[in-house]
Structures are given as structure tokens and as C-alpha cells.
Symmetry: C2
Subunit: 189 residues, 2 copies
DNA sequence: TTGTCGCTAGTACGATCGTTCTAGGAATGG
DNA sequence: CCATTCCTAGAACGATCGTACTAGCGACAA
């Protein structure tokens, strides 16, 4: 009577594959058919699992933010107490500036930019893109909330700004030098 | 014999109007027809002046970068010698964080993100998006080239990172507080 | 076994896309 | 005036878009 049960794992597989596709082929002009071809399924299959294209995009960027944050937040949490923020920032930067992460962060900033121009559609992304890291970086500090917030804001902004520079210019020497200087000032607190 | 002369001003008018349109309606899925409707011309007119859509996009982002840089570089140049960099950075930040500039910088970051995923098409944008400011900020300093480059890189990255935060969260108090702290450290050099 | 429902695919529809073709007024140099 | 060239518009092309509809297959509960 109840019929065949829903296979949630199947949707997760397709979503991960879709994120990989977006990482390689860009996010701006994603459409059902090319994604379906790359994944070896029909467009109908994607529609069935994601509903509308808009919903698939939301799912993709949700998964993307999840990936990006999970991979770095692990490094944030496992730090000794003293100078925890500086160590966390260094760990995040080391991982983020790894060339192997380039494609994923290019996609991240592409989504970020698009979200800024469609705040309605990407509301959750915009809400959490800063807040998730803020929470983690504030927890890593022992100072009062005001200065902790101020420092966390600066750390997030500087790392992202440097990453934008690195991805745009590929000038590793210059950007790494600036990053090292910033991280050094962070440890002098 | 020579016929009617080319009207370059007409193209500039259309380009400025197209940038305005992109500022309001987004950059990701721009197409001839909606732009033409908004500008009160036919799509053929746009094709005539810009060639292909790709060329129009390049023209738009070139003009956009020109606008964004010109408006702020003026503030950079007209500073007294002492603490020129700090004053320049403060001027740039004051203008960039003005809510009235929000739409333009949203477009700027949307283009930036798209360019990161299509480096071939937007090569010139990526080349100049950092280099233009770098040159101006290095010239504003009297220290050796190495530290001047390092500082300029950090100033650009931090300002852009803070701007990303401000545009995403709208949390003016927190971001302005962090910006003030950063600019203060800049003046202590 | 049988009825139910998830999963997949194929097809088709209307809309919109970028671009080309055709052609008529406007403005300029000879 | 005339020839030439720019500017603009309208129509049409094939391609691709998102999505709905139909239907067959497979897995599960009763």
C-alpha cells in the first residue's frame, strides 16, 4: 500500500555531482541538460529530485557553503587555548590558499557575487556566509565580545580579500607575503 | 564619398545606460532584448554598436571598473604627503561603504565572481582589478617597495573583504567598527 | 501476488536566447 | 543634388532554455 520508500542518498549523490560540475563549468549559466548529460542521467531525473532549477541552485550553494565551512572549521576548533584565534586564522588561510582549493573558492565567490544581486533568492546563503565563520572565530577568543567581534570581522574580511586577490592575479608571492604579515600582527595581540 | 561619420558619443551613451541597467537588474543573465527595451532602442541598435553580446559584456565591465576606480582614485591622489596611505584608504573606504554606492559594488563583485570562473573572457578585468589600485596605493607611500607592496595588498584586500561583509549582511555597526580599527592601525605606522 | 509509488526516460510545448538579413531614413562629403 | 555611410528597426533563423506530460520499470507493503 505504502509503495517504494524515498531514497535520500540518491539525491545527495546527484547534489554532490552537481556541485562538482558547477565547480568545473561555472555557476552563472548552469542549465538542466548539460548537468544531466555530465551526470549520465536525464533532465527529468534532476527535476524529479530537485523540483525547479531555482531549488537546485539553492541546494548547490547550500552544499557548497557546507563543504567550504566544514573543511576549515575543523581546523578552527582543534587549537590550544592561547592564541587560538591566530592559529585558527593561519590554519584557515593555509587551507584556503591551497591551489587545489582554487576551483571551489572561485565557485564560492561566483555564488557570492550572484547572491549580492539576487538577495531574495539567496537569502540563506547571505545570512550564513559571514555568520557561520563569525561564530567560530568569536568562540576561539577569550576577550570581551566587542573586541572579539571586531577581530573576527577583520579576520574574515582580510582572508577573503586576500583570497580574491590571489584568485584574480595568481600572484602567490605577493599575496602570501601580505598574508604572513597580517597573521603576524594577529599573534602580537 | 566618405559618408556619415561615426558617432562615438552615441555608443558611450548606450554603454553608460547599459551599465546602469546591469547595476539595477544584475549582470548574470543579461540579454539583448530586456536591455534594449529598457533603453528604448531595438536589439539591432545594440548589436550594431557593440558587436556581440560578449563584447558588450566586456565593454560594460570595463566601464564599470573605470567608474569605480576613477571615483575613488581621485581621493587617493589629493592627499598630503604624510600618512598619505592612511588618508587615502580612509577616503576610499568612506566612499565605498556609502549605501548609495551599494548597487554599483554589488555589480562589481558579481562581475568579479563571474570573471574568476571565466578567466579567458574577462582577462583584462582580472589583470586590472587589483593592479590599478595597487599602483595608486604604492605611489601614496614613501617606504621601500617591498613593504609598500605588502601594505597596499593588505589595504585592498581588507577593504574589499569588509565591503563583501557589509553588502552581504548589511550589518553597518559591526563592519564600520572593524573598518575603523583597521584604519587606526594603518595610521600608527 | 498485487497495488502503490519512487525513479527514470522520452517527448513536446512555449518562451527566450544570440545573431543574421533586409531595408528605410538621417547625415555627411563631393 | 548625389553617392556613401551610419543608425535604426523589424522579421526570422536555429538553438537552447525550464518545465509538464506520459509511460515503463523496479522495489516495497499488504
Amino acid at each position: 500500500m505504502t509503495g517504494r520508500p524515498v531514497n535520500h542518498q540518491r539525491r545527495a549523490e546527484l547534489l554532490d555531482a552537481a556541485v562538482d560540475y558547477a565547480t568545473e563549468h561555472g555557476f552563472a549559466d548552469l542549465s538542466w541538460r548539460p548537468v544531466a548529460r555530465a551526470l549520465g542521467v536525464s533532465t527529468t531525473t534532476l527535476v524529479h529530485h530537485f523540483g525547479t532549477k531555482e531549488q537546485m541552485l539553492e541546494a548547490i550553494l547550500g552544499r557548497l557553503r557546507e563543504r567550504a565551512f566544514a573543511a576549515t572549521s575543523a581546523a578552527v576548533g582543534d587549537q590550544p587555548d592561547l592564541a587560538a584565534l591566530a592559529a585558527a586564522a593561519r590554519a584557515v588561510w593555509t587551507r584556503a590558499s591551497d591551489p587545489r582549493q582554487g576551483a571551489e573558492f572561485r565557485l564560492f565567490f561566483a555564488v557570492y557575487g550572484q547572491a549580492l544581486q539576487s538577495p531574495g533568492q539567496f537569502a540563506e546563503f547571505l545570512d550564513r556566509v559571514v555568520a557561520d565563520w563569525m561564530r567560530a572565530l568569536i568562540d576561539a577568543q577569550k576577550t570581551d565580545r566587542t573586541t572579539a567581534t571586531r577581530t573576527a570581522t577583520l579576520v574574515i574580511a582580510t582572508i577573503r580579500g586576500l583570497l580574491l586577490d590571489l584568485l584574480a592575479t595568481g600572484d602567490d608571492d605577493r599575496v602570501q607575503d601580505a598574508a604572513a604579515a597580517f597573521l603576524a600582527t594577529l599573534e602580537e595581540r
